[in-house]
Symmetry: C2
Subunit: 212 residues, 2 copies
DNA sequence: GAGATGTAGATATTTTTATATCCATATGAT
DNA sequence: ATCATATGGATATAAAAATATCTACATCTC
């Protein structure tokens, strides 16, 4: 019954819906609106009102009875919960097609992520810039990570190379890896890994298609 | 109690794990192995053995008591369940960074998807080829879809354009849309939409990071 | 051949997540 | 002032998913 006993664990599903709410709330905030009800958010996001209500309650978003949630305060609550209120310095390993596409995606700055370096082994990529980000040789990982104080790794290397790179990253003290390689990474328990598998989404679509 | 009454609905989570099993099974099949136990698959995929057992049972994968699941038969069962045993003709709308990256991803052919056309509105893209795929003007959507008998749409346009394109696709009779734009699409109930939101994954990673 | 072992199969339980229901209340209309 | 109403808040229920437990059995070892 200590000071931290009330820290409720928030469901993964809730976490995954938060960015969706955030986008709509940014939009409305831009128009000067101050309040939004779960019903209105539901129309925009196609999430059930009650789910939205519970999600926002879970992260302690401020609300006004009968009037809805305070847009500004809810934005702050979500950003704060996700740590998107200040930028984390990130880097990308594997500057192929997908890596280059991610480097060109400007939206990350709204999501707490700033990719400030890229790494690759191909001679024709090393030394160049992609969308304004310098590409170092992978051999320089350790020195650049330390020098630039990088915190988050985005992994877009081919599957067979992923675990090897990961071992290096762990050795460099990296605690967060966003993995786009179709391989489950083995890491120590204090390292966070987020696995993105494009095939999972395609499988869902195909399963839907077969059942309709 | 008709002929189709036994059709159990298979969980979304199960569907999302199937491609993961498939990759490992392909690999092992390539080495000539014939049987794999759920325990062995678990080591490779970091999914609990009992989950694997239930997933494979759900899609009717063949097994041998005491020896495990038949690799070849399980591959067939998964491919068949997902409809990945024959290619669906797909097309991509929005040939920007992400679109180009997806066009360059050769793995889709193993996943029942063959992207045979791309569409865009930018003059410098229209008429060119990207990774061997011709880029048509979006105005030609209807005619090319009909001519080439395209079935599945991959949507990689900017958010504000997504719903408009979607309405066109629906009017063209498209029944499956894989949407990478950060917008929930409104479609008739007989159209399957799979939403990919890169921000959801990032949110998960950031939430993990904060709790460690 | 006898027994130990690791497996799929079946069932039961627990946990998580989604959904429904009711209540108190602030707001707006009359 | 009064009343109807839409809302967040709280609680209860249902559904989905994960996890545990037990059984039967084919294979291997001795």
């Amino acid at each position: 019954m200590g000071l931290f006993s009330k820290k409720k664990s928030i469901s993964v599903q809730t976490i995954r819906r938060l960015p969706q709410y955030l986008r709509v709330l940014y939009d409305w905030h831009g128009y000067g609106r101050e309040l939004a009800s779960s019903t209105e958010l539901a129309q925009e996001t196609q999430v059930l009102p009650i789910v939205i209500k519970k999600d926002l309650q879970a992260i302690g978003a401020p609300s006004k009875m009968r009037a809805g949630f305070k847009i500004k305060g809810t934005i702050t609550a979500i950003e704060n919960f996700l740590g998107w209120d200040n930028l984390n310095k990130a880097f990308l390993v594997g500057a192929g097609h997908l890596g280059a596409a991610l480097l060109g995606f400007s939206g990350f700055k709204n999501h707490g992520l700033e990719i400030v370096a890229a790494f690759d082994t191909h001679p024709e990529r090393v030394g160049n810039e992609i969308h304004g980000v310098h590409v170092y040789h992978t051999a320089q990982l350790k020195s650049v990570i330390e020098e630039k104080k990088l915190k988050i790794a985005v992994l877009t290397v081919p599957g067979p190379a992923a675990q090897g790179i990961t071992d290096t990253l762990v050795a460099c003290g990296i605690k967060a890896i966003w993995n786009f390689a179709p391989v489950k990474l083995a890491v120590p328990p204090d390292v966070a890994v987020q696995q993105e598998d494009i095939a999972s989404g395609l499988a869902e679509l195909c399963a839907q298609l077969k059942s309709k």
